[in-house]
């Protein structure tokens, strides 16, 4: 099994004709994702050319795309100025799962987008996230399909390339994955660590979870408390940013230590206090997962 999406998910791509949107749509289709529609205002009625000559109908609005194709999931590759609007459009059209890859969306825009998505009952993944991949089934976003393989490990992370680093070792060591989720590096994100952990807890195939956090905020501390109270499968953690200075934004808009809060030490402590094994180096993650599964 996988969480949030599976091979039956019917995907509409917002911004399908853009540079990033067209490239990643072809990648997703080549992996096996059922891309059923694209949306670019003003280009409705045309077709998007996917790999192997497969065509995807383009619509002017998400509502049209949903009505015509039954799309139930969306991926947003729209520039920052319009991305919050794209999320709200998808939620308004009844799309239940919305992945937003776009980085650099104004945070006040996201306060409104998250509020509307909550009201409509839509789950937003991101923004500023690499997306979600269910090995062998489907991928929504930009996580390269080559580095994953099916298996018993669930992975959730705030970072993109650090996810690749961890998955690379897992796959090399024969530890496949049920689902890998990048929740995004922004301060306001739609799907939290806890949301993913709760979904993994419901998934019979997930036998261990990898939790990759970083400095800033308290999401890791909340995840640790949740794990201790609710999860009976092993969890391996990693926190990036032990050497980050306080008060400075480290690339991700959400990666900032405010005062004495949000440090790597505080998060590592929260993990350890709640029975989460902490890898000191990315390469150790896979070894800890392997050992936990062997027990």
């Amino acid at each position: 099994m996988s969480i949030f999406v599976d091979g039956n998910s019917r995907v509409v791509v917002q911004g399908i004709t853009g540079r990033d949107g067209s490239f990643h749509t072809r990648q997703m289709m080549a992996y096996g994702t059922r891309v059923v529609a694209g949306v670019t205002p003003g280009k409705g009625g045309r077709d998007f050319e996917g790999p192997e000559g497969r065509e995807v109908p383009i619509f002017d609005t998400v509502a049209d795309a949903v009505a015509e194709t039954g799309a139930d999931s969306a991926v947003v590759y729209v520039p920052p100025a319009f991305a919050a609007g794209a999320i709200m459009e998808a939620a308004d059209a009844g799309v239940g799962f919305i992945v937003c890859v776009t980085e650099g969306i104004p945070v006040l825009d996201m306060t409104r987008a998250h509020a509307l998505a909550r009201d409509r009952g839509s789950r937003v993944l991101g923004p500023n996230c690499p997306g979600i991949i269910c090995p062998g089934k489907t991928t929504l976003g930009i996580i390269p399909g080559r580095m994953v393989t099916p298996g018993p490990v669930g992975l959730v992370s705030r970072s993109g390339t650090l996810t690749y680093e961890a998955v690379h070792h897992l796959t090399r060591d024969g530890l496949g994955q049920t689902t890998c989720v990048g929740i995004g590096g922004d301060p306001l994100i739609g799907t939290s660590f806890v949301d993913c952990l709760a979904a993994f807890a419901e998934d019979a195939d997930t036998e261990a979870v990898v939790l990759i956090g970083e400095i800033g905020g308290t999401a890791e501390q909340e995840a640790a408390a949740w794990v201790s109270a609710n999860l009976d499968i092993p969890v391996v953690g990693f926190i990036a940013g032990r050497t980050a200075p306080p008060g400075t934004r480290m690339g991700h808009a959400g990666a900032i230590i405010s005062g004495s809060s949000g440090t790597a030490a505080e998060k590592t402590q929260a993990f350890e206090d709640n029975g989460i094994q902490v890898a000191k180096r990315p390469v150790e993650i896979s070894a800890l997962v392997g050992a936990a599964l062997a027990r």
């Binding site: 650099g104 104004p106 930009i142 940013g241 050497t243 690339g251």
Partner: protein, 376 residues
Amino acid sequence: MNLHEYQAKELFRAAGMAVNPGEVARDPGAARALAQSYGGSAVVKAQVHSGGRGKAGGVRLAHSPAEAERHAGAILGMTINGLVVHEVLVSPIESIESEAYVGVLVDREGQCPVFMVSAEGGVDIEEVAATNPAAIHRLRVDPRYGLLAHQAYGLATRLYSDSGLARQGARVISQLYDVLVDNGASMAEINPLISTTEGQVKAIDAKVSIDDNELFRRPTIAALRDPGSESPADLQAREAGLSFVKLDGNVGCCVNGAGLAMATMDLVKYYGGEPANFLDIGGSSNPDKVVAALEIITSDPGVKVILFNIFGGITRCDDVANGIVEAVRRIDMGVPLVIRLTGTNEELAREILAGAGLAAVASMDEVVEQAVRLAG
């Protein structure tokens, strides 16, 4: 992006808020003239992106134009938390009856703007939060309705028992919300919001941070950036679209992705080294970005070795390799270069590097160990 107090006050005035008068002086003579125009006495405040200006001696009261000139002379050129003061704000002295705190910022947890107000203003609000949390009142604002009139008034009644003052306070609180939303701020704060002995409520300090993601659509706000508050390396990084933070070590780091960049710095430390910087070249892999990154890192004389850690996903390893080769051709590195490339188009990248006499390893631990050893 942080604004200076005088810039933030301009935004407050534009929102119609009652703010104490004041003008910027860039030399002591100008401060003297301003004090004169205010009737002789004045407060002289350093304009610098740092808290704790008062404790550092950057805020002084002058009781004559000559004293204002002396104070300005002392403050201009002083260094507060590593930042040199180039401007002072000169304002008349107010007759203060009470000092309150009013702030609004975007709350991660609530995913909405949240107000914090306290009748205990004029002091470090984090200290109040630690010692007397009950003195701080919070209100989350639904971004779709904005701050409603009764909410603003409700907050103001926490600050003032007098209804006239509460009405004025409510107006200021609403205006502060407008400042946040209309300028794309992530934080706006008044500390202190005073009531005067004449019964006037007004802001005598102002702090505003703009969300960097708003700047593309707010050119007049973007133009408020103080170039003097930014190092040449920071400026070059920003213009090249690189995310860069200078640190104190000697291992220069060039990585794709913020999380991997932080993990790389941590690994440098793990193997006994000290990272010289955080640098994320981003998802796209334009060779020009790689060249700019290397220029920035090599401009730091403390750097003894440069470490590349690239995990190609969207980023293509061959693009990064081309950038490295191009940079080696254009800039005199003067320090060794160690490279880790894996992922998309890794083999092609190795060929490109080999053609220029460079080699790459496949593991992150290996490259970091190498770098730390070379940095000595």
